[in-house]
Amino acid sequence: MSDGIRLFLIFLAAINPPAIALSTPALSSAVRRRAVALALVVAGVIYILAALTAERFLDALDIAPETFRIAAAIVMAPAGMYAIFRARVAAESAEESWRAGIFPLALPLLVSPATLAAAISIGVDDGAGKAAAALAVPLVLAAGLAFAGAGRWRPAADGLARMLGALLVALAVALVVDGVRAV
């Protein structure tokens, strides 16, 4: 598997767009449009900052990137398990306002501990550019599905969300192995 595909799959499984489609709170169309746009901007800024500052962040914490892979995997695995069993992202309902773009759409739907840990780990291992490139499609896809909602595709989204949850668990296991089997 090429590095690009691996990174894309990590972010796709960590963000889990179908789970976000199923977890997005009920909002009117106008509010939803503004909230999703705001969430996309907020999430994008957070991810870019995370990837750009990843190395300094780990240096400040005195953690080797290889060791952080293990920590990232430990954060990702429970998120994957949650998605397997609930087909949702853990989040609450929101008020009918643009503020829903910050909570819960940006945090914790588009930006979750699992995705943030992945962004930091990939940012320091592969560089911020690769992290951003791998993240862009899953993020935009998730935002699009958050806007569109699952609608009549709910059963399909439910199945896909669980599958991506399983993929995230598998990738987390691989990341632990990678962290252990690294200099």
Partner: protein
């Protein structure tokens, strides 16, 4: 009044912070690599060498093990470790500063005299025989040969060349066709014991044979060395049923680095791809061990969560291995991508070693200053191989520091 957004956000971020804190405390505490300079590393090695000189007895043997809290020696002796300590002293003579040579050589030569007093010869070979149990083991003889090789590197003195060839001949008797080494030669049967292998001896013998080819090229020592290298790279972990391969074998790392520097390396890579893959797996293993160790602080909480700090005999082997793999990475382009990390981990572990060593100025705090100075203690006990491996690791880390592979200097 707090809006729903702020309340939800606060709860979310609070939960994340709590999770991050838990993760930090339980899984990823900070990794601490004490600063180390080349002078520190050399001084640590010298202090360990001085320990060996102080605890050496008149017959050339060393103090084997000592409980500093009870202020008494722990009974026992081990001929293999004696050979290892003597080898480390010759390394200090070979790779220390010119001024280190004379005193260290005198101590090491007394250690060698003890080994020579316990030699047996049979059917064209010569070997060390353990005076306690009469065992003629591959491991001790491999380290005897490595010690003689280090002596020759340090002095260019050829007086023991015959003995080296004799011990080398013994090792060839002990090597099986697949490259593995049997544990011991049995005087009762006049043959190697076919039932026991040694997970240590194979790597030790590999390094010794690789050194023989460096010192005596053209005598055919390369072929048995290559056979062992293939066994280590391809079969050892399976045949010897290692639960978590690869077996963390610093002697194998020594041997691979030595092979990579053989004279024929000028014509092309000496190591095959399988051996490089094996070297990379060793790099991963030793790197991981250092990362875990660097998270330990010795506090009760760290001991509970991360386990207790490793003894110097163990940590020293990690530094020896990483030093060797760094040399290999400096010589073979197939390892070049790991060179920086290998250097970083080696210096980190060497820094921890130096930090945990009892320096001569700290020694008066202990009940026996002579035994404390220059030593490493685990639960109040030091054994001579603590000083052996730590000395070798610290000494050889200087090459990395000199090349700029330092982190905290």
């Amino acid at each position: 009044m707090m809006t729903r957004m702020w309340k939800g956000l606060s709860v979310t971020l609070g939960a994340w912070a709590a999770g991050a804190l838990l993760l930090r405390v339980l899984v990823v505490p900070g990794q601490h690599c004490p600063a180390l300079t080349s002078a520190d590393a050399l001084q640590g090695a010298r202090d360990a060498g001085a320990w060996m000189a102080r605890v050496q007895r008149d017959d050339g043997s060393y103090l084997y093990e000592y409980d500093i809290e009870a202020n008494r020696p722990v009974p026992g002796y081990n001929a293999v470790r004696h050979a290892g300590v003597t080898m480390a002293l010759y390394q200090l003579a070979a790779y220390g500063e010119p001024g280190d040579g004379a005193d260290v050589l005198a101590t090491a030569d007394r250690g060698l005299a003890w080994l020579q007093a316990n030699l047996v010869s049979y059917d064209g070979w010569t070997a060390l025989r353990d005076p306690d149990d009469g065992a003629i083991e591959s491991g001790g003889n491999a380290l005897l040969l490595a010690a003689l090789a280090q002596r020759r590197i340090a002095t260019s003195d050829g007086r023991y060349d015959g003995l080296m060839r004799g011990v080398g001949a013994y090792l060839r008797v002990m090597e099986q066709s697949d490259g593995s080494f049997l544990l011991a030669w049995l005087p009762t049967t006049g043959k190697p014991d076919p039932t026991q292998r040694s997970k240590y001896a194979t790597g030790e013998a590999f390094w010794a044979l690789a050194l023989m080819h460096r010192l005596f090229p053209g005598e055919g020592w390369d072929e048995p060395a290559r056979t062992v290298a293939d066994y280590l790279a391809l079969h050892r972990d399976t045949v010897e049923k290692q639960d978590y391969p690869p077996w963390a074998d610093q002697w194998a790392a020594y041997g691979l680095a030595e092979m990579a520097a053989w004279p024929e390396a000028a014509l092309g890579p000496v190591l095959n791809d399988a051996q490089i893959t094996y070297a990379r797996s060793l790099a991963d293993r030793f790197g991981f061990l250092v990362r875990v160790e660097s998270q330990r602080t010795g506090s009760w909480f760290s001991t509970l969560i991360q386990g207790r700090e490793s003894r110097a005999a163990g940590m020293g082997t990690w530094v020896e291995a990483l030093d060797s793999l760094w040399i290999l990475a400096s010589l073979d382009p197939r390892m070049e991508d790991l060179r920086g990390k290998l250097g970083e981990r080696a210096i980190c572990a060497a820094g921890m070693l130096r930090d945990r060593q009892v320096t001569p100025t700290e020694a008066p705090r202990y009940r026996n200053t002579d035994v404390a100075a220059g030593a490493w203690f685990t639960n109040g006990v030091t054994r001579m191989d603590d000083q052996q491996h730590a000395l070798s690791g610290l000494l050889r880390s200087r090459a990395i520091l000199a090349a700029g592979g330092k982190r905290n200097e």
